[in-house]
């Protein structure tokens, strides 16, 4: 057994043991959290070892009836195993104190956490369809239990759980049908057999398989228009679960698309990848636009996940497009950019969700309009969120900057590569990435500026306190990874390129693109930035020394003192953006002015309500839901509750079948 196999075995064993302890013994969040973190650490070790060249493969025919369990850790799967493990380490440490509440100490919830992590680690390691689908479903069920863990908090949690359950299972059905169609063309359901069969599939069957699996995997990745569960489930789940779902689980949707589309089906025609690219572009722009309008901190982060998965899919789609036109160097570059962004997203989204959870833990609210002024009371959480927010905005020195720069390079250089389709798609994709990057900066300036700086907007914040040490440690681990990824992406590039199946970027301090011209050094850029800040600060300081220092009152229009009600809120900060994108988001505004009874000229109160509904949801989901409701109402007439009637239905059905058989045989 090599290190990868040992690591995987350790991860599964520790995870299942932890789950067993959680199920049998009274709640011990410290033990369960530690077990989860150790599971993650073992997964990271396994993934890293497999990426370094020690891949392994194991077949256990007796574990699962009919298909058996078959696991393989190739570089692509290993990257996802390592990312999932990394998120689990941070979330596990964090959960030691965070999960120490009445709702989260429940036995089922404590058991589901390690099971969820083990299932997520196994999905990218599965080497046949049976194993993949079983682990996929286990992952969905465990996460569902965790989403509804705090169901006592209100009906919204239950509603989020229902949405998540239905959407994830529809996605599962879609993946299931797609893979069954695929397996029917192959001798057995192992990925090796599928890989060979995939080369000989007729284009129509391959297209059906790809579209069906894409629909299922995209719904897991929160891609528009199958994203409706994501902004519901992520805010309502406990924060360490949100981090696991948003930073690790959604990645597996992308894994599925890459595994089936690129690996098993072996590429495919250009229209597949144009579809992926279009879905990615729409998700990126729509996700970040909705996030910019949101004033719920965790909903904002959830919508930003849709945006980032959209960016990743833009990269995947571009890679498929380049590969289908035979340009493998550019394809490797685009896929490297996509996977690097995915790793970076996992790091910063973990920090952001854990920090948001810390805020929720301390103040009891995630409404940005009620937060603010957290910097003095929660300095570490504020710093962690700041690191995450910088990493999420595509500005140097941030984590997302490097990957989005690579993505843009691939898209720009891809213009002459792929004929008419690429000539149209590439400029649009570049524009989408640029718009997304700009809106992401506005969104995270809002989240950080309104949520953490300025004055407290409610009493809950005034009484806030810094979180316990283990929560800070969980955030700290992820924040350090963010900083390392931002300054030294070369450290992880070999692993990402091994997963992407091609070397596109080389260099240690200065990243140079192969085949196309382009170079970037995040480290030197960051050092230059720091040097510039030091120089400017020094000049200002020396210039200021010569002048007499005067303390002046903050200009408050002479009225003063300024209250927290005069601050920018999340709603008012997003208002200009909302005006610009009025036609796209179609907000519902409502202004109520009530007057004094004595005179209509004296205003008693002005009430302003703004709601930004999800337009795609209203157009796409409401008609379907109405149709299903109508179907149900129509069916109700057939079921009046009479036993005789039901027996009659059975009798006539059997007679009908017998007559049918008699006529046709």
């Amino acid at each position: 057994m090599n290190l990868a196999a040992t690591g995987m075995a350790a991860a599964v064993a520790i995870g299942l043991m932890t789950a067993l302890i959680a199920a049998l013994l009274p709640a011990r969040p410290a033990l369960i959290g530690t077990g989860t973190a150790l599971t993650g650490a073992a997964a990271v070790a396994a993934g890293a070892a497999a990426l370094a060249g020690g891949s392994f493969s194991v077949v256990l025919p007796d574990v699962l009836p009919l298909s058996g369990v078959s696991l393989t850790l190739d570089p692509l799967g290993a990257l996802f195993v390592a990312v999932t493990g990394g998120v689990a380490v941070a979330a596990g440490i964090y959960s030691v104190s965070y999960a120490d509440t009445a709702d989260l100490r429940a036995r089922g919830v404590q058991t589901a956490l390690p099971v969820f992590v083990v299932a997520m680690v196994l999905v990218p390691a599965a080497a046949n369809v049976g194993t993949l689908l079983v682990c996929w479903e286990l992952m969905a069920l465990a996460s569902l239990v965790l989403v509804v863990a705090e169901h006592r908090r209100g009906p919204r949690v239950a509603s989020a759980g229902r949405w998540y359950a239905v959407m994830t299972h529809l996605g599962f059905v879609s993946v299931l049908i797609g893979l069954m169609v695929f397996v029917a063309q192959a001798p057995d359901d192992s990925f090796t057999a599928l890989r060979e069969a995939g080369r000989q599939l007729s284009p129509a069957v391959a297209g059906v398989v790809f579209v069906l699996t894409l629909a299922g995997f995209a719904s897991k990745a929160g891609i528009v228009p199958l994203h409706a569960w994501l902004p519901r489930a992520h805010p309502e789940a406990p924060s360490h679960v949100s981090a696991l779902m948003s930073a690790a689980m959604v990645n597996l949707g992308v894994y599925g698309v890459v595994r089936v589309g690129v690996d098993l089906l072996g590429g495919g025609p250009a229209w597949w990848w144009l579809l992926v690219l279009a879905l990615g572009a729409v998700s990126a722009v729509y996700g970040i636009l909705q996030a910019a309008m949101s004033s719920d901190l965790k909903r904002l982060l959830g919508l930003s996940t849709t945006e980032n998965m959209g960016l990743v899919l833009i990269g995947v789609g571009a890679a498929g497009l380049f590969a289908s036109s035979g340009d493998h160097a550019l394809a490797a570059l685009a896929l490297t950019a996509a996977l690097l962004h995915l790793v970076g997203h996992a790091a910063f989204k973990t920090v952001l969700f854990l920090a948001a959870g810390s805020v929720l833990h301390a103040t009891g609210t995630r409404d940005l309009d009620a937060l603010g002024g957290l910097r003095p009371v929660m300095p570490v959480t504020t710093a962690a969120f700041g690191v995450g927010a910088l990493a999420a905005s595509a500005l140097p020195p941030g984590t997302a900057f490097v990957s989005e720069w690579l993505l843009l390079q691939a898209l720009i250089h891809g213009l002459p590569a792929g004929g008419v389709a690429a000539a149209i798609a590439m400029p649009v994709a570049v524009a989408a990435v640029a718009l997304t990057a700009g809106l992401a900066v506005a969104t995270f300036v809002k989240a950080f500026g309104v949520g953490f700086l300025a004055k407290p907007r409610s009493d809950a914040v005034v009484d806030a306190h810094e979180s316990p040490l283990t929560m800070l440690a969980g955030m700290g681990v992820a924040a350090v990874v963010c900083v390392v990824l931002a300054l030294w992406p070369a450290g992880i590039l070999p692993a990402v390129q091994a997963a992407a199946g091609g070397v596109a970027v080389s260099g240690d301090v200065i990243l140079r693109l192969d085949q196309v011209t382009g170079a970037l050094s995040p480290l030197l850029l960051a050092l230059g930035l720091v040097a510039a800040v030091v120089v400017v600060a020094g000049v200002v300081r020396t210039a200021a020394v010569r002048r007499v220092r005067r303390t002046a009152r903050l200009w408050d229009c002479g009225g003063g003192p300024m209250s927290a009600r005069m601050e920018y809120t999340a709603t008012s900060f997003a208002e200009p953006l909302q005006r610009v994108f009025d036609d796209v988001v179609q907000p519902e505004l409502d202004v109520d002015v009530s007057h004094h009874q004595e005179s209509r000229y004296l205003v008693q109160a002005v009430e302003y309500r703004r709601k930004v509904p999800d337009r795609i949801e209203r157009r796409l989901y409401q008609p379907v839901l109405r149709l299903i409701a109508a179907w149900g109402r129509a069916g109700r007439g057939l079921a009046p509750g009479s036993v005789h009637r039901y027996l009659g239905y059975g009798f006539y059905a059997v007679c009908g079948v017998l007559i049918l058989l008699a006529v046709t045989r």
Binding site: A552, R553, W555, C557, G558, G559, G560
Partner: protein, 161 residues
């Protein structure tokens, strides 16, 4: 757009020819400003008569800006405070704070009879006093309300142009 051009062509130039530079004493500190004077207007309790005339003084006919005077939006940007009206009790402290917020060197212009010596409101129960009772005044422009020409003339004492 076309109608705007047509309007401009039909109307032509409406600004009155610049009257000769007013003589009379020029505050010493105004010379430091070098002919460019940024003005913040403060309504300390005016009936808005003076405001109408100030608006007119900076309108196209009298065009105060051609002499180097300009209205700005914050005392932090200003060299000069243009105070109108009697100083009411509610506005005394804000006026003092506004004066403090203007960077030195700074000047104060009291516009209208109320600002100079409380005008018809002298002795009223809500009045804290004339402007000079609250902040030091450098230039006074009499009138109830002063004509726009008078306001422009007063400001030209500061710009020296």
């Amino acid at each position: 757009m076309l109608s705007l051009w047509r309007k401009i062509r039909r109307t032509g130039r409406v600004a009155e020819p610049a009257p000769p530079l007013p003589d009379g004493e020029r505050p010493e500190r105004a010379a430091v400003l070098g002919g460019s004077v940024q003005i913040r207007h403060v309504d300390a309790g005016s009936c808005n008569g003076c405001e109408v005339e100030i608006g007119s003084a900076f309108g196209p006919v009298h065009d105060g800006e051609r002499y180097g005077a300009r209205l700005v939006a914050s005392p932090r940007h200003a060299d000069v405070l243009l105070v109108t009206g009697v100083v009411t009790r509610n506005m005394a402290e804000p006026l003092r704070r506004t004066f403090d917020a203007v960077p030195a060197p700074k000047l104060v212009v009291a516009v209208g009879d109320c600002a100079r010596d409380c005008g018809v409101f002298a002795g009223a129960y809500g009045v804290a006093g004339a402007v000079r009772d609250v902040v030091p005044v450098d230039v006074e422009i009499p009138g109830c309300p002063p004509r726009p020409e008078a306001i422009v003339e007063g400001l030209r004492k500061l710009t020296g142009r």
